[in-house]
């Protein structure tokens, strides 16, 4: 991503808006954009989802490969989460080797899904020590108007829940749905104009400061946290965010579990 000039006018404007409890697009501090989840949208993937959050659009696709289990874990398959933000997604994204931003995106989403234990890697073993399934979740941004983190996480878990293990194609038995036992959901908050807001747009990200990402599993268990960019926050601010994340995650979880 080309480093954008810090737009001082935008920062001043966001600060004015915040002091009047307003946002660029007339949302309240804790309001998300309209969120749409579509399942099974990619004919060549074994599981897929498209998430639309305002003008942010992402795709997630699941593919399977046969892997040799790691010597220290002969009974386990693998889960890999890879994220690509290419130049299609916005004029501030460039093609080329993965940028630190897109690597952070992929890793934070990966941790939330992995640590929730929603995929039982023991279940992916075919022949101990020889053959196991590797589940690959590819996240692909189509249009970046901010908060790719939440969009990727939502599309990712929905695509996994939609996935079928293509055993027939590899001639090892019948196709079976991939078992996904939990539904981890991420909520992201950006400091904009001196206060945290939920689901920032691109302009809010551009004129804002630090961000915090929280992934909660079923029963509100915390599975991943990430603080990004320069900025300082207080314990009270974090507590307030966490309260909001609990209620918002459960709404989004209902959407995924539909």
């Amino acid at each position: 991503m080309a480093a954008p000039l810090v737009p001082k006018l935008l920062r001043a404007h966001l600060s004015d808006l915040a002091s009047n409890d307003a946002r660029l697009d007339d949302r309240g501090q804790w309001d998300g954009r309209e969120t749409k989840l579509e399942i099974g949208v990619l004919p060549r993937a074994e599981g897929s989802a498209r998430v639309t959050m305002g003008n942010t659009i992402v795709l997630a696709g699941v593919k399977f490969q046969i892997m040799t289990p790691y010597p220290d874990r002969p009974n386990q398959g693998g889960l890999m989460c890879s994220c690509e933000v290419r130049s299609i997604a916005g004029r501030h994204w460039e093609n080329g080797p993965p940028s630190p931003q897109s690597i952070e995106l992929g890793r934070v989403v990966d941790r939330g899904i992995r640590e929730s234990g929603c995929i039982d890697v023991d279940d992916l073993c075919i022949i101990p020590g020889e053959k196991a399934w590797q589940v690959i979740l590819d996240l692909h941004a189509i249009s970046d108007d901010g908060n790719l983190f939440d969009a990727f996480a939502l599309a990712g878990i929905a695509a996994l829940r939609n996935a079928t293990i293509p055993a027939e194609r590899f001639e090892i038995g019948e196709d079976t749905p991939l078992k996904v036992s939990k539904t981890p959901i991420m909520c992201s908050y950006h400091k904009v104009g001196g206060r945290f807001v939920y689901d920032a747009s691109y302009r809010e990200e551009l004129g804002g400061d630090e961000r915090i990402h929280i992934t909660l599993g079923d029963d509100d268990h915390v599975h991943s946290l990430q603080k990004g960019l320069k900025g300082i926050f207080t314990a009270d601010e974090f507590a307030e965010i966490m309260e909001h994340a609990k209620s918002r995650c459960s709404e989004l979880r209902d959407m995924v579990n539909g």
């Binding site: 004919p43 659009i57 890879s82 299609i88 916005g90 093609n95 690959i136």
Partner: protein
């Protein structure tokens, strides 16, 4: 070209495995404005192919060494998403994508009025999200719709179609099985208003008569697809 001529792809009635006649193209849908943050965009489905194209610009050409004093440069990238094929594609550098990006840029540079935007860059990002033979044609065709959607002046749209040969029969718009076992492939990029060409590739084996037939199929199909492109640009969704 797999060249396995013994696989039967045309039945006794002259119909193909998916029920098409030799000259038929697969079903096509075209939608514009699908990437809200872009200056122009297009989603095109063509059989099981899906391409999403975003156009950004004209904008500052960066780094400066790519600038041209008398015209704009086109920065075209064609990329297949990792989940677009049966076996996952590893992201990253790939000779095939580089070549297709280049010939697509060469085709589009022939129609975009580049001299109107000296020292600037127009970026065209083609993402194939689902692939079923003929993705370079879908990508190029969708790119020309996205350029028009972005309001970039062009002398004409570009319609790209491929014809080929299976079981010694020339057919239009090969699908995946036909492409795998077929004996030839002739993709072309046609300017529908003048009938001129801006893109041409071929591999395989065609007799002069077969070549003529494949050529004619492509021209006829291009005119058909052109109508859908105009409808999409004039009416939004077709």
């Amino acid at each position: 070209m797999g060249g396995y001529g013994d696989v039967q792809m045309i039945d006794e009635n002259g119909l193909r495995m998916d029920g098409r006649k030799p000259g038929d193209v697969r079903p096509i849908t075209i939608e514009t404005g699908v990437v809200p943050v872009a200056d122009g965009s297009c989603r095109m489905t063509w059989g099981t192919n899906e391409a999403i194209v975003a156009v950004y610009g004209p904008m500052e050409a960066h780094p400066r060494k790519i600038q041209r004093q008398d015209r704009a440069v086109l920065d075209v990238t064609y990329n297949m998403a990792p989940f677009s094929t049966t076996d996952r594609i590893r992201p990253g550098f790939n000779r095939r994508s580089r070549e297709i990006s280049k010939v697509t840029a060469d085709a589009l540079e022939s129609v975009v009025l580049l001299e109107l935007y000296p020292r600037s860059k127009i970026r065209i990002s083609i993402e194939i999200t689902s692939a079923e033979a003929g993705t370079r044609c879908v990508g190029l065709t969708a790119a020309s719709v996205a350029l028009a959607d972005a309001g970039i002046p062009m002398t004409d749209l570009v319609v790209s179609v491929a014809s080929g040969k299976i079981n010694d029969v020339v057919v239009c718009d090969l699908n995946k099985e036909e492409d795998n076992y077929g004996e030839a492939d002739l993709p072309m990029g046609v300017l529908p208003n003048s009938g001129e060409l801006v893109f041409l590739q071929m591999d395989g084996d065609l007799s002069p008569d077969e070549f003529k037939q494949a050529w004619d199929y492509n021209i006829d199909a291009a005119m058909e697809v052109h109508k859908l492109m105009v409808d999409a640009l004039k009416g939004g969704e077709n």
